[in-house]
């Protein structure tokens, strides 16, 4: 029972963990904010206050607009592919067939592979213009000059790799949701005269709206931060996103001040996106 005494005791007992948690979250943020106002370049001794100039330079970086658009395209198309494909695959895996258990585990496994590793595999074994699987297929069908994926369509290539990683996640969540759909709903809709398409449209899809919302929200948060796939495949020049831009400020230009400013801008943008996403699709989460 929660008496007022035990409640105040509870507050005191919680205080140390809350303090650690707050420190953990806020100290790095505070340092980043502090750096973002500094002239702080590792190749330059000349440090001092910059005011808002770091932010100005980040925004006026020639790559900024392109990388912002890349970020949005990458998130958007990966979401479309993983949600639409995830619904389709979940419906398929929900059917009874021989070897379903194995197929389900195989289906989920890409999600457990480190992005760095899978990117390397995609880059060197699948999309490589000379040794790659896709090139071999193209040559089999008589192509003279197989597509050089990362040179010709870098953003598409990154989207394919990232979708390959996130499709299993969407499938897993949606499959679980499908399995919780009451069998009698199907019987009832059949009695009511709904065919397969009407059953999907009026019963299955509304049932999936909530898990789809969860998939969109969670994937968006992670997809805004995609980095390994771009770095490993060296697609950053053309398919870089904001995370990659921050990285190149830090790594290529050694400009810690501007990287910190970029990081903060990315945080604000990510929060804006999440805010509007929650406003748009979060209604589905209300019970």
């Amino acid at each position: 029972m929660a008496t007022s005494h035990s409640q105040s005791l509870g507050k005191w007992a919680l205080a140390p963990s809350l303090a650690v948690l707050a420190g953990w979250a806020f100290v790095p943020l505070a340092i980043a904010i502090y750096f973002s106002f500094l002239r702080y370049n590792l190749q330059n001794d000349n440090t001092g206050w910059m005011g808002l100039s770091n932010f100005y330079y980040f925004f006026s970086d020639p790559y900024f607009l392109k990388d912002l658009i890349n970020t949005i395209l990458l998130v958007f198309f990966t979401l479309v592919i993983s949600v639409v494909g995830g619904v389709f695959l979940a419906l398929l895996l929900d059917q009874p067939f021989w070897g379903r258990g194995i197929v389900r585990i195989l289906m989920i496994s890409p999600f457990f592979i480190m992005p760095t590793v899978s990117s390397l595999v995609w880059k060197n074994l699948i999309m490589h213009p000379v040794f790659g699987l896709f090139a071999a297929i193209q040559k089999f069908f008589g192509a003279e000059q197989p597509l050089d994926w990362f040179a010709s369509v870098p953003l598409l290539s990154v989207i394919i790799i990232v979708s390959w990683q996130w499709l299993p996640y969407a499938t897993l969540i949606l499959l679980t949701a499908l399995q919780s759909l009451d069998e009698e709903q199907k019987d009832a809709s059949e009695m009511d005269g709904a065919g397969a398409i009407a059953y999907f449209r009026y019963i299955v899809l509304p049932h999936l709206s909530r898990p789809i919302t969860v998939v969109i929200l969670i994937e968006t948060i992670f997809l805004l931060n995609i980095f390994a796939e771009i770095k490993v495949t060296s697609a950053g020049g053309f398919a870089g996103n904001l995370t990659y831009l921050v990285f190149s400020q830090l790594n290529d230009a050694n400009d810690i001040g501007e990287a910190a400013a970029g990081g903060l801008i990315a945080v604000v943008l990510a929060n804006l996106v999440s805010y509007f996403l929650v406003r748009i699709v979060g209604k589905n989460l209300e019970a």
Binding site: E184, A188, M191, D192, A194, Y202, S209
Partner: protein, 325 residues
Amino acid sequence: MGTITLKQVRKAFGDAVIIPGADLEIREGEFIVFVGPSGCGKSTLLRLIAGLEDVTSGSISIDGKDVTEAPPSERGLAMVFQSYALYPHMSVRDNIAFPLKMHKVPQGEIDAAVSKAAAKLNLTDYLERKPRQLSGGQRQRVAIGRAIVREPTAFLFDEPLSNLDAALRVNMRVEIMQMHEDMKATMIYVTHDQVEAMTMADRIVVLNRGHIEQVGSPLELYNKPNSLFVAGFIGSPKMNFVEGNTIGVRPEHIALSDKKGDWQGTVKLAEHLGSDTFLHIDGGARGQLTVRASGESNFGPGTKLWMTPEKDRIHRFNKEGRAIR
């Protein structure tokens, strides 16, 4: 309209035979109840009639038309499910309208039919609510509403009252019977509760391990059970079986006396219901017997007494459990 005929209907899942072969004639406007213990195949039989399961062999016809191969929606039947199976994301209005919408009925007619059904079922104030905002009884009524809008040739009920509490169950039982009275439609009702079967049915079909044991009016089954199984299943409390299951006597057909009678026994337990008292009696070699006494009966535990079965109310059975008449 609303006759349903089953001819040698058989259902097996692989090697497991659920229904070995059922013949049944359901008459127009009849309230027929499938009753039996769980696993007896009564729900399967209903789902075969509905078309939700395919028959392994045999044929089903509705109004003289063979529908053995027809999908559920073409059989003109409506079903009320045990879980109600309401569509959770649709309002009550959309739930009731769904079968009409699926059959491409014009919107104007749909609205009229939904209003009419809602008025009949006291749901008018709840049309915009979602199923989860309704009580159990209201959900049940929405499920019935979804069934009646289509004006089906027959209604199928799959244990529709088993999720309701006892008081509500009695109310809904009366409402369903009233509905049958008003609509004169054929209704097939599945239950494991013999009280529901006795009170609601025009005719009862007793099923045992997939076999139709007996078909008849409630009183026919009560007075002239064909088999040991039917005799034991119909009637509450259960019929007493003595002499190696060859003689059966209902608890209400045994006279008690403290002086003389045919069988002697000792009262073990007395259940006082007010109107009646059920005495659980140790009959010695005859085993445990249940006897109905009047509400004022004051035979307490430990009392020695005599029991005399009514001569023309004794049921006799042969070794195979068939009735001897």
